[in-house]
């Protein structure tokens, strides 16, 4: 069991900054996802934790010990790579035994531990095969086996599911969650897939351009996104974001864009009259009744619900979520209402900060918040 602390960590490649002033505390036994689009610095962060990259500044500690200058093999971590990185010339058994061998575990004990790990992952019949003779899912299991065989303090997983097909991915997701529960080890998981991050993690660290945007449990990230980027990145279909103007209205605020003019709840001290961004989840729009009118552009049926794309006030596009029973014709006009109690307001710019006062204190409870 070990906690992992990034303290003011910096990584530059030449003039390019991959990770900027990262402060992040991962508690012992926690499952944390590093989430973000490609090039956001999540893999670099993981590789620094593994010891495969060296931070340009700041410190990284595992279990209270600064590991900046510790070789990867001495950090007591295990890593699963996106490509699995199985040794092609070794059998499955030898692949799994390799980290034990490198640590001088005697052969007899090694065989026992390999057999145990193989049984746990249902690899026993495959032990004498080479990686090239295995399917993607089986290779994935071998990579996991190699990681968990020696019971490391911290597991690092770099997009381990991205090379699997959708069905297997869903299955392996559940397996990993179960494995985490069983082993109780700290796990750091890198992904660009927000569904993986949401379903598996205790907390999610969302990154963009080398900066940490928010570090919070999945529900909090979803309900109280720290800024505009997080709001748009988390959730499928993604949140509707509308650029407009914020104006004072007595003691409260109003948001206007084209023909839309809605009251927004109490805002925090950062709010100023002027350009701002309104966010609403597709589920906060209800179709069929209400004072706003929009044109149905597209209806996507997913089976148990429909995702509807609307055109509103000429150029604004909105996505709404309705029940599959609701019958909507493409091209028809439809009335809709907005649940004003579930609106998000953000400052201008790509990472415009959250301006809602509602539960604003909530985010300061979590560590590592930017």
């Amino acid at each position: 069991m070990a906690d992992v602390v990034f303290s003011n960590v910096q990584k530059t490649f030449g003039t390019f900054t991959a990770v900027r002033d990262l402060d992040l505390t991962i508690r012992s036994g926690e499952f944390v996802s590093l989430l973000g689009p490609s090039g956001c610095g999540k893999t670099t962060t993981l590789r620094m934790l593994a010891g495969l990259e060296f931070p340009t500044g700041g410190t990284i500690s595992i279990d209270g010990k600064v590991v900046n200058d510790t070789a990867p093999g001495k950090r007591d971590i295990a890593m699963v790579f996106q490509s699995y990185a199985l040794y092609p010339h070794m059998t499955v058994a030898k692949n799994i035994a390799y980290p034990l061998k490198k640590r001088g575990v005697p052969a007899a004990e090694r065989d026992q531990m390999v057999a145990k790990a193989a049984e746990m992952l249902q690899l026993t019949p495959l032990l004498n095969r080479k990686p090239g003779q295995l399917s993607g899912g089986q290779q994935q299991r071998v990579a996991l086996g190699r990681a968990l065989v020696r019971d490391p303090k911290v597991f690092l997983l770099d997009e381990p599911l991205s090379n699997l097909d959708a069905k297997l991915r869903g299955y392996m997701r559940a397996e990993l969650v179960e494995l985490h529960a069983r082993l109780g080890r700290t796990m750091v998981y890198v992904t660009h897939d927000q569904l993986e991050a949401m379903t598996m993690s205790d907390r999610i660290a969302i990154m963009l351009n080398g900066d940490l945007q928010q570090f919070a449990p999945p529900q909090e990230v979803y309900r109280f996104p720290a800024n505009r980027f997080v709001a748009g990145f988390i959730g499928t279909p993604s949140m509707n974001l509308i650029d407009g103007e914020l104006t004072r209205a007595g003691s409260g605020w109003r948001f206007c864009a084209a023909s839309l003019d809605v009251p927004v709840g109490p805002l925090n001290d950062m709010a100023q009259p002027g350009p701002a961004c309104l966010g609403m989840r597709p589920e906060s729009l209800s179709l069929g009744a209400g004072e706003q009118m929009a044109k149905v552009l597209l209806v996507e049926q997913t089976g148990h619900e429909n995702i509807v794309t609307l055109q509103f006030a000429g150029q604004i596009r909105l996505t709404a979520r309705t029940t599959a029973a609701q019958d909507l014709q493409m091209g028809a006009d439809v009335a809709f209402a907005i649940d004003t109690s579930a609106l998000h307001v953000f400052g201008p710019g790509e990472t415009g900060p959250r301006l809602n006062r509602l539960l604003e204190n909530k985010s300061s409870e979590t560590d590592g918040q930017t």
Binding site: A50, Y87, H89
Partner: protein, 273 residues
């Protein structure tokens, strides 16, 4: 149909043209002396004799030259492959200033005709007191085999996923350990084709051996055999052909065993992650 027949005829005539000297070499080496210059010549020998081989082994320096060639080629191959493997690893894995220019500079030296280098190299080796030794040839061959070997291995090395090495490092291997356990086995086809290339090159080399060596104890097969059997007045054809056959045998054996690796090698990058 006729096109196919014509094509086949063409292909076979080329095969025959290439193979005939080899065939003639073998046939001449087993003909008795009196049959050699008969007109019209006999295609297949009427009497088969191994007396030339016997004489070569018993009465001449052939075995010394053969040993020299083996020592020379093996030493050159080991040196070139060791340096080129580590050099290629450095060029592919590490980031440092001048890395690319260094690689191109190495290739550039390969573009110089080796004849240009003989005299300076000879003078240098004389100054070092190494002239007239097998070591001098090892050094000379290394200078012109290394650039090509480095480039060949570099392309092989680039085909090995870096993740493999990272995984070994995380699994507890040192950098050298990861290189030994993971990189080398992956690089094996590349190493074998590079080694073959270097071995053939040093086994067959003539010009440097002629210039740098003039003592019988250090001569390799190429110059040794010529020196021994070809003089201004006489060429010992039967012995020459027997020597040629025996010179070719080691290469043929090596080729036969490593052929599959060699073809894999020339389709470079065929290393699967």
């Amino acid at each position: 149909m006729t096109r196919r027949i014509l094509f086949n005829l063409f292909a076979w005539s080329i095969v025959l043209a290439v193979a005939f000297p080899l065939f003639w070499m073998v046939v001449t080496s087993i003909k008795p002396q009196f049959e050699l210059f008969r007109r019209p010549p006999t295609i297949l020998p009427e009497t088969v004799t191994f007396e030339h081989y016997w004489r070569l082994l018993k009465e001449t320096n052939f075995l010394i030259y053969f040993r020299n060639s083996v020592v020379l080629s093996v030493a050159t191959t080991v040196t070139v492959v060791s340096i080129a493997t580590l050099g290629a690893y450095s060029l592919v894995r590490f980031r440092y200033r001048g890395r690319e220019s260094l690689a191109f500079l190495v290739l550039f030296t390969y573009l110089l005709p080796s004849v240009v280098l003989i005299i300076p190299l000879y003078l240098m080796l004389v100054t070092l007191g190494l002239a007239n030794s097998i070591l001098s040839l090892v050094i000379a061959y290394t200078t012109f085999a290394l650039p090509y070997a480095l480039w060949l291995l570099r392309s092989f090395m680039a085909g090995i996923p870096e993740d493999l090495e990272s995984a070994a490092l995380v699994d507890g291997a040192s950098r050298l350990g990861a290189f030994w356990d993971v990189i080398l086995p992956q690089l094996l086809p590349g190493i074998i084709s590079t080694a073959l290339f270097t071995f053939i090159l040093s086994w067959n080399e003539y010009l440097f051996a002629l210039v740098l060596i003039n003592s019988d104890s250090a001569r390799p097969l190429t110059t040794g055999v010529m020196n021994m059997l070809v003089s201004s007045f006489n060429i010992e054809w039967s012995l020459l052909m027997a020597a040629s056959v025996m010179m070719s045998v080691p290469l043929i054996i090596v080729f036969a065993f490593l052929q599959s690796y060699l073809t894999r090698g020339f389709g470079a990058g065929g290393v699967k992650g």
